[in-house]
Amino acid sequence: MQLSGAPRPAPARAGQLFTPFTRTLLALLVITVPALGGVLPEDRADVLWHDYDGGDITVSGPEVLVRKKVGDNLSLSAGYYEDMISSASIDVKLSASPYHEVRKQENAGFDFLHGKTTYSAGYIHSREPDYIADTTYYSVSQDMFGDLTTVTMGYRRGWDSIFRDIKTPDGVIENDPTFHERADHHGYSLSISQVLTRNLIANLNYELLTDQGYLANPYRKIRYLSPGMGMGFTLADQVYPNTRTSNAASVQLKYYLPWRAALTAQYRFYRDTWGVVANTTELDYTLPAWRHWIFEGSLRWYEQTHATFYSDLFPRADYQNFMARDRELAAFHTYTIGAGASYQFNVPYAPWINRSTANVRVDHLLVEYSDFRDALLAGEFGAGNEPLYKLNANIFQIFLSIWF
């Protein structure tokens, strides 16, 4: 109820808001949009087991994803994912204790088709003993120009709650009651998928991401020089900026070769306000063989510069406002080589299953750091002179897929 204050301005009549020219323009836009337009994803179910082993970390667990149409216009999806983590990584050995924990993630979403427009939305919930993350996403996709072009605009929003585990004198691990931080994320994306020729299709993606809140890892530490003390360095808490804005743009090209095989080339450029600039290049080759098999191979190369406030070894305590030693912010490059095989088979006594495949994929990841050293060897080589750290990891996936 408005008791006092300035009188309300008289409501403008619709006709006074826009000039006749603008009204004509708006009318044309409204008429044009519905004339533009989609296909819902296929009904399918996937059950996957994943295993990661590298850098004294093993992560394995199941993943399930089911997608089903309801009527002609609606497709629902739901999934479950689990990470069973056992970690004694170099960071853990330096500044924390080896641990075992489980991360569980559930997701649900829908795609609604109206004409040639697809509206999608979903929700993802992830929880682990010291981290809870909720994410929602929304997108609108439009097929146009004889279905040669698909434009998709998306938005995602994330809310994270960050805790820190401590070990009580009784040996029980629980959340530190003095530590509870939050982080918020926003992402805005634009994608264009374009059929270029009868054998070539291109994808262009752009995404703007903003992060705000507690963005550091609460367990990891920086180290600074302390000549004559212990191993020659002292550990201290990381200090991160509370905001980060990232821009990423990518192009993907997929080409159908003169024989039945596909070649994919991808490139992504990334830059953020922390000074990280990254380039990702990937080549994939897919080859069907012997009627029931599909083989694929991939090569991926990634490089990044370090964040402006990153250092492997700071000269002294409180050297600058922001200080980090998270190796994800170091300068490094990675090589990933992968291969997979898919076998299509019929499931007996299940006529409702249209198609089914058994799949296996193996990737090897090599990370070579340019300014992240193995601090555990400081006693042998001296602080700042340790060998650069390298990470070798094997990533294994086995999964079954059915289309129904």
Binding site: F21, L25, L28, L29, V33, A35, L36, D46, L48, H50, E63, G122, I124, H125, S126, Y131, D134, T135, F145, G146, D147, D160, I162, G187, S191, V195, R198, I201, N205, Y206, L209, N217, S246, A248, A249, Q252, K254, R260, A261, A262, R268, Y270, V276, A278, T286, I294, Y302, Q304, A307, D326, E328, T334, S342, R361, D363, L365, V367, Q397, F399, S401
Partner: protein, 79 residues
């Protein structure tokens, strides 16, 4: 005519042309009956989402860059 009005007119005209361009969409240069290769499952950018989303999650937690992959993953404290 003020500069603001000229600018408004120019932008409006550009929008109008874009809208009319949408009405008169170009004739598809790849006809539906020529899309046999494009319809082959091996031409899908994301043939097995369950696998590609997992692999992307593994790489993202070890690299500084993220985004512009066309997929949406949930947040986690995974490193």
């Amino acid at each position: 005519m003020s500069i603001a009005k000229k600018l408004t007119r120019a932008c409006s005209a550009a929008l109008l042309l874009a809208a009319l361009g949408g009405c008169a969409a170009p004739t598809p240069w790849v006809k539906p009956y020529e899309r046999e290769h494009l319809a082959d499952p091996i031409m899908s950018f994301n043939r097995d989402p369950v696998s590609s989303v997992y692999l992307e999650h593994v790489l993202e937690t070890r690299e500084g860059a993220h985004g512009a992959t066309g997929a949406v993953g949930g947040g986690c404290g995974c490193n």
